[in-house]
Each structure stands twice: as C-alpha cells, then as structure tokens.
C-alpha cells in the first residue's frame, strides 16, 4: 500500500443529543480510488464535512493529517488551499453563467484590475479536455445535462490543482452512460495522480471501481476492505452496511392473476409549448388491478413527463389522446382532479416538489387529503395526529414524533413520509417516481415490502426507476421508454438488463 495522503484519526463529532461520529478512523492512500459506503445516517457526509472544514477545527475531536501534516481547517477555503475538493450531489454551479466562467469562479485569473478572459477561456478549455468533455466553453451551464454539469464541476475542481477529489453520490442522478463515463474519468485521473474518494449507494459501481472500500455504520468505522485481495463483494458490503445479511433484497410477494384494467392510456401525445418540443409521442399502455408495472428508461426519456401528464398535467403540456380510468374516458385538468379520480403521484424530487420541508411529518402526510380529517373546512388536529401516527407506525418512519420537522429526517424516512402522504389519499393507482433514489439498502428493502403489501391489497403501482435491478426485481411487467415513446414491453420473466438497455438506448 502506498503512503497515505489522508489520515483521519479518532474523529468524534457530536450534535446536540446525537453522536454523529464516534472515534472514526479513515485512511486514504495516495493515488487510489477509495469508496466510502454506509446507510443513510451512517455518518459519511458528516465525516466529509469535518474533512472539508464545514465543521471547523475545534468542533470535533481527533486529528486530520493531509500529506503527513496535521491540518486545522477553519473553513472550506483552507481545505481547498491544501488541495482537497468536494463535489456534492447538489451541484454548486451558476446555471446562468457560461462553462468557462463557472470553472474559474472564485479563483478568477486576473489581468490588472479586471479578469483575463482570454486566459480564462484557454484554461477552461484545458480543464474540459482533462475531463474529456467536448463542449464549447461559452455554453451556459443551464443548457447542459446533469451528467455534463457534473463533469464541469470536476473540471472546476481540477483547475484548483486538486490532490484529493471527493465525490458525494455523483452518480445518483446520472443515467448509465454518464455513470460509465464518470467512472472511466476517475480511473483516468488516477493515472494523473489524483486521489479520489467516492461516496455511493450503488454497490455495483463501487465494486467496479474501488481499490479500497471503507464501510461506516452508525457513526463508526466498521471495516476497510482491499479490492486487490478480493475482499470486496456485494453481499459482504451489504452485510457490513446493515449489520445483517439481506439475502433477497426484493421481498417475495404473492403474484396472482392481475385483475381488470384500472388505467389505460391510448395514443397519448404531449407537446411542451414553453420549450417548443414534443415530450411524448403515441404512448399507449395499460395498468391492471394489483400489479406493479415498471417504467425503465434513461434519464430524460420522458417517464416523469408521462406520469405528470396523466396526473392532472401541472406543467401545462398540450395533450392529445385518450385516458381511461376503470374503463371510462376522463379529462384530468389538475392534480386535484387526478387525486379525485384515484390517482396519486409521488415525485422523484422529494425535496424539490414532493415534501414541504419546513412543515412537520403530520402536516406533510395529511396535506393531499385534508378533507378526510376536517369537518366543514375546519381541521381536526387531534384526528390528524392520530391518522399520521398510524401511517408513521405502519411504514416504520423513524422519527421521535409526528411533530418533527421533515427536513430533520434522513432521506429514507423522508421518502417514507412521501409514500405515506399518498397512501393517505387511498388511491387506486400510485405512481412512484424513483422511489428509492438516494436512500440506503435497509430503507429500500422496507419500501419494497410496503409496495408488495399495497398491491396484494389491490392497489396498482407504476414504478419509474433508473435502477434496472430494482425494475427487474419488483415489476410484473416492464415498459421501456425512450425519447418520449414506448420502445417496448417485456413480461418480467423475459426481461434482462441487456434487453432493457438495448431498447432504452434505441
């Protein structure tokens, strides 16, 4: 093993009432790709915030050694100066600025009193080459896809002579191609002498790329595994992460014969007048009572748009085609109409447009169906607490009380609140858009269990997911969406990852 570039020794960090990190040690060798895994709330992000100086020296106990020297970072500026760059899942780019402005933002190249724009563009171009991104640096960041924005962010880090690059769940929002591309880039940078730390929930990619894996659980280092010795494997990682073995991550369910058709879409077309593009073209599909239908496809293929266009069309697309609920043609003009017709939609972006983060658990759960707990327009707050507590218990939402503000919950528990909210409207059809994105293995397993229970009780679920194993593991049938069309339909028995990818990329 090479000499360590980073040693974090006996790091302990407490928040009021919670020990987030307890005596954690973390060592990264120079020139390796080191993966950091653990369930949500295991302390990965806290550890990285300690390292980057977000929690300044003195806020935690323990030592940080970077390149052999003890470091006392008082802020991000200090850690950046030392050569540590962190790229968060929520990108820190300015959408309205160009790529080259973004890359040199914060350490602009000066000429006299102003900025040396020619040199800026040249340097940005050089950095874009290093991340192998072939775009015009004059492009505005908002015009790039998420995958490319991520690369711009890495280019920005490289322009600061980074020695240790930390990526916090970089692939969570990326499609397969962009993922591959990013992982390939990390290997490439490794050759250039850049050490990377990758935080990820996607164990397959961890296994693919890691030289070393450190597992955190409940704020403690559980183990550090060496890939070259063959210590890294999916079952091993899951076992260490959750502290128990999950043999079948997709729980079994009774698969009876599907019932009558509850939702049908015929020749569905959507046109986005604001952006002037066709979003959906001639989409037709059926959903039967008591089945889970998976919608696979690449990011941006039109799956979310399809769900929203059915769910009352809040984005105001121009729609053509037929929508039948339980055999009857309907026109749903707003999410309110859709909810009344028995359709619910849990969004992919639970923080952005799913939950109201500043409100508490009970208010979020009851929001879409306040009528249930009110008389003559007046909310019965006791009935509300009772109802919310029932859902909290049924879905095993980990929170001290239903009065807890949602922003304080972990990602997995927020997702459960989002599901609880839509169960509270007692729908016949539930659209789940990326129901397990960014949540840990244990919570995923629980969400799958909940989905199974719901369909056994006769609900029908449409699951939109970018994780193919999940689509294969949970669905009865799979539709593959590509460029706003249904590219194919596969019964789960015939579906494989390869077949789906082939159709999705067609």
């Amino acid at each position: 093993m090479n000499t360590p570039i980073l040693e974090m020794k006996n790091i302990t960090k407490t928040f009021p009432g919670v020990k987030a990190l307890s005596d954690v040690s973390f060592e990264v060798a120079a020139g390796e790709i080191h993966c950091l895994v653990g369930e949500n709330g295991a302390g990965k992000s806290t550890l990285m915030k300690v390292l980057s100086g977000v929690y300044p020296h003195g806020d935690y106990s323990g030592d940080i050694l970077f390149e052999g020297k003890v470091q006392k970072f008082r802020g991000i500026a200090d850690s950046e100066k030392a050569g540590i760059a962190i790229i968060y899942q929520e990108l820190a780019l300015i959408p309205e600025m160009t790529v080259y402005e973004n890359i040199l933002l914060g350490h602009e190249l000066r000429k006299g009193l102003g900025v040396d724009w020619n040199e800026t563009v040249r340097k940005a171009d050089e950095m874009l080459k290093r991340v192998r991104l072939n775009i015009n640096p004059e492009t505005k960041v908002k015009d790039l896809g998420v995958g490319r924005q991520q690369l711009v962010e890495i280019a920005k880090a490289l322009s600061k002579d980074v020695k240790l690059l930390i990526l916090d769940e970089p692939t969570a929002a990326l499609n397969e191609d962009d993922c591959d591309n990013l992982l390939e880039l990390l290997r490439h940078l490794k050759k250039d002498g850049v050490t990377s730390v990758l935080i990820s929930h996607k164990l397959k990619e961890v296994i693919r790329i890691a030289d070393t894996v450190t597992v955190l659980r409940d704020g403690q280092t559980i183990c550090t595994l060496d890939a070259s010795k063959g210590e890294v494997g999916e079952q091993v990682l899951i076992k260490h992460m959750v502290g128990r073995e999950i043999n079948n991550i997709y729980p079994d369910r009774r698969r009876g014969d599907a019932g009558e058709v509850v939702l049908e879409v015929r020749d569905w077309n959507a046109y986005d007048a604001k952006l002037g593009r066709t979003v959906l073209k001639d989409v037709s599909f059926k959903l039967r009572k008591g089945e889970i239908v998976g919608f696979a496809g690449l990011m941006g293929s039109g799956r979310t748009e399809l769900a929203k266009s059915i769910f009352g069309n809040p984005d105001g697309y121009e729609l053509k085609g037929e929508l039948l609920v339980k055999g009857k043609p309907v026109r749903l003009r707003s999410p309110k109409d859709a909810i009344e017709a028995g359709i619910a939609y849990a969004t992919e972006d639970r923080k952005g447009n799913g939950l109201i983060l500043i409100q508490d658990v009970k208010q979020n759960i009851t929001l879409a169906n306040l009528a249930q707990i009110s008389q003559r327009g007046v909310v019965n707050k006791n009935a509300e607490v009772k109802a919310a507590t029932e859902y909290k218990d049924a879905l095993n939402i980990k929170t001290p009380s239903v009065e807890q503000i949602v922003v304080n919950l972990s990602g997995g528990n927020q997702q459960k609140v989002s599901v609880a909210k839509w169960l509270f409207v007692q729908p016949d059809v539930l659209f789940l858009d990326e129901p397990t994105r960014g949540i840990d293995v244990g919570a995923k397993y629980e969400i799958y269990g909940i989905m199974n229970k719901l369909v056994e009780r006769g609900m029908s679920i449409v699951m939109i997911s970018s994780e193919l194993p999940e689509v294969l593991g949970m669905s009865d049938r799979i539709y593959i969406v590509s460029s706003g069309r249904i590219a194919g339909e596969l019964p789960v028995a015939e579906a494989t990852q390869e077949k789906i990818m082939q159709l999705a990329t067609n």
Binding site: P16, F311, G312, P314, S334, P335, K336, A338, I339, E340, Y345, T347, G352, N353, G354, L355, I356, L357, I358, Q359, Q363, L367, A368, L370, A371, S374, G377, V378, V379, K381, N382, A383, V385, K386, N408, K421
Partner: protein, 395 residues
C-alpha cells in the same frame, strides 16, 4: 416540574413569545421614561386606535408574505378607498352602510386585480403591486384634485375611528366608579370563554389518549392568561372603554387567526408558502390561493382605509402614504419569514403594537422625528436578526 424542564420550555418557546416579551419591555421602558403617562388608560386607548389601521393591514400582509409575495399597492389603495368613501358620503349622498359595503367590495376587487398578473402570468408581485402603487396614488390625487381634503360629516362613519362602545350603566355609579362596565363585562366573558376553550381542547386531547401538559402547568397557564386579559380589560375600562376600532381590530385578528390555524384553507396557504410546487402536486390550486390571499389583502386594505378616513373625519390627498412599508415592517417584526410558509396572524398584531408603541412612546417623550425613524429602523433590524438566529438553534 423541575428548573430544567422550565429552562427547556423557555428555550423552545422563546421564539414564539419573544415578541410579546419585547413588547412588554418596550412598554415598560416608555412607562418609566414618561413617568407613567404611557401606560395611562387614556394613552393606551389612543395607542390602540392609532394601531388599528396598521394592524389590519399587517394581518393581510402577513398572509401575502407567507405565500412568498408582497403587496406594495396597499398604502395608496387604502388612501384611495378612504377617499371613495368620502366622495360617496359627501357627493353621492350614499347611505353610510351602503358606502361601507361598496368600499369593502371595491377593496376585494382591487386585491384580485393585483393578483391577476401574478397568478395568471407569473409576474413578480413586487412589480405588479408597484404598478398598483403608482396607479392608486394617481387615482387618489384625481379624486381629491377638485376639492382637496374632503371633510366627512357623517356621524356613524366617523364613530368607527373615534367613538367607544356604549355602556350599560353610567360611569359615575358608586359601583366600580369611573370604569366602563360593558368593557369589564366583555373582558370577563373573554376570560371565561378562553378558559372553557382551553379545557375543551385538553379534554378532547385526552379523549384521543394524547399526552397533555401536567395539570399544575395547565392551571398556571390559565391563571397567567386570565391575569393578562384582566389587566388589559382593566386598563381599557379606565378610560372610555373599548373603541370601535379596537373591536374591529380584535375581530379581524381572531377571524384570520382562526382561518390560518384551524381551517383547510389556512393549511393550503401555508403549504403554498412552504413549497408551491409540492402544494400544486398535492392537489392545491396555487392560483386560487394567490387570488384568495390578495383578495383578503384588498378587503383589509379597504377596512384600513375606512378606519383611517374615519379617524381623521376626512380624506386627504396624501392618505395612506407609507402605510405599505409600515405594515410590512410590522409583519416582519411579528415574525413572518420572507422565505415563505412561516408567520402568524397574532404575530402581526404584536408587530404592529411594537411598531406603533415606539412611535407613540417617542412622541410622548418629545423625541425628534429624525431620531424616531432611526430607532424604528433599528428595532426592525433587531427583530429580524432575532428571528433568524432563534430559528437556527430551534433543533
């Protein structure tokens, strides 16, 4: 109940009650500085009458800010609607009740008009209402251009801003000499109503098997609130009793507080403020809520215009000047958040009282007007800083 529990309770509630404490401190300071004149029944009655038209506006503005908007047009709209009332009474010889209804309806329409470009086209409310500010300023000047200030002779109309509720017994009886009996009676009824409501809420919580505060804490709270209500009643009864302005102000605060806290509509308003997209996807029409909130703002603006014109017994070409900024300041002092989704109706009343106490108290002390502005600005800044910092340590 230990000292530690009490400390914890204080920490958790400091944000909710911070403004009440600030109000009490400000009133205490002025009482000492004016050798008791400030707290005299006569001055408190005067202070409450001054606060009326700003408090009513602050209630509406709080709702507007909760849904992440602002309404700059309310100042001159209030002046303009006051002038319309004057014209209706003086020139058109309209019945006073008809005039009131007309002005209130016009207020709602004006509010809906401001909401139209905001809700339908997504125009920022700052711009839409700035246009309204200019338009209503012009309209006010137009209405008053020929006559200048319009004197209102109507007794009923002028009573709204100046008169006090009648008494059931003459004040100079030996029984409770010099006190306003009906005000005392209303205060007593309010205390009884409050106690019954609290006991009812506690019982219904127990019926659900929810945890309730310990009985001694509960009784302590009841006693404390009864004393506060009793003191307010006593002070008010010491002068002419409750004014009609105070009655209107309290009614507005109670009604809007009830809507905000207890009703589905209120919950929808907070949801739209907390996350408009999530609210829309939860089946709430953001447009409808925007119209309703601006409509309510318009209604309260009209009410404020009536209160102000009635108080002056006239409509002037400069009526309503800077009301919009005064009520925005009051709303922020009362704890509303510009980020949306946070704020209380009772907070806006306290904010308005803090703001007007400063003005009233400094006037009594003869403080120079230039210094008054500086101090009011400092208090606004302090209130917002307090709000932001206490929000951070809430967990």
């Amino acid at each position: 109940m230990t000292v530690k529990d009490l400390q914890k309770a204080v920490r958790q509630n400091i944000r909710d009650y911070g403004m009440y404490i600030a109000l009490i401190i400000i009133m205490a300071i002025f009482t000492i500085a004016t050798k008791g004149i400030f707290i005299s029944s006569r001055n408190i009655a005067n202070l409450l009458n001054q606060t009326g038209y700003i408090a009513v506006l602050a209630v509406g503005m709080t709702l507007v800010i909760i849904i992440r908007h602002i309404d700059l047009s309310v100042g001159f709209l209030s002046g303009f609607l006051g002038a319309i009332a004057a014209v209706a009474l003086v020139n058109w010889h309209l019945n006073v009740w008809l005039t009131l209804v007309l002005v209130l309806v016009l207020g709602i329409l004006a509010g809906l008009l401001t909401a139209l470009p905001v809700a339908k086209l997504g125009i920022p409310s700052f711009v839409a209402s700035l246009a309204g500010w200019l338009i209503y300023r012009g309209a006010l000047l137009m209405v008053t251009s020929s006559t200048g200030t319009i004197i209102i002779p109507d007794k009923i109309f002028n009573a709204i801003g100046n008169a006090y509720i009648p008494d059931i017994m003459p004040a100079d009886t030996t029984f409770l000499h010099g006190l306003h009996k009906l005000t005392l009676l209303i205060g007593l009824l309010a205390i009884v109503w409050f106690i019954f409501r609290e006991i009812g809420a506690r019982k219904s919580k127990q019926a659900y098997n929810f945890e309730v505060p310990p009985a001694d804490m509960f009784v302590l709270k009841l006693v404390f609130m009864a004393i506060v209500l009793g003191l307010i009643t006593w002070v008010l009864a010491g002068y002419n009793g409750m004014s009609w302005t105070v009655v209107i102000m309290i009614a507005v605060v109670l009604i809007f507080d009830y809507i905000a806290k207890q009703t589905v509509l209120g919950r929808h308003i907070y949801a739209v403020g907390g996350n408009p997209e999530a609210a829309e996807l939860s089946g709430i029409s953001v447009k409808k809520i925007t119209f309703m909130v601006f409509g309510a703002m318009g209604l309260l603006t009209a009410l404020s215009g009536i209160l102000f014109a009635s108080r002056l017994q006239s409509a002037t070409p400069t009526g309503g000047t800077l009301f919009e900024l005064d009520c925005i300041a009051a709303a922020y002092i009362g704890g509303v958040s510009a980020a949306g989704g946070v704020g209380k109706i009772t907070g806006s009343l306290v904010g308005a009282l803090v703001y007007m106490s400063l003005m009233n108290g400094m006037n009594l002390m003869g403080t120079d007007i230039s210094l008054q502005y500086v101090i009011r600005g400092a208090v606004l800044a302090a209130a917002v800083i307090f709000d932001v910092t206490t929000r951070k340590v809430r967990r």
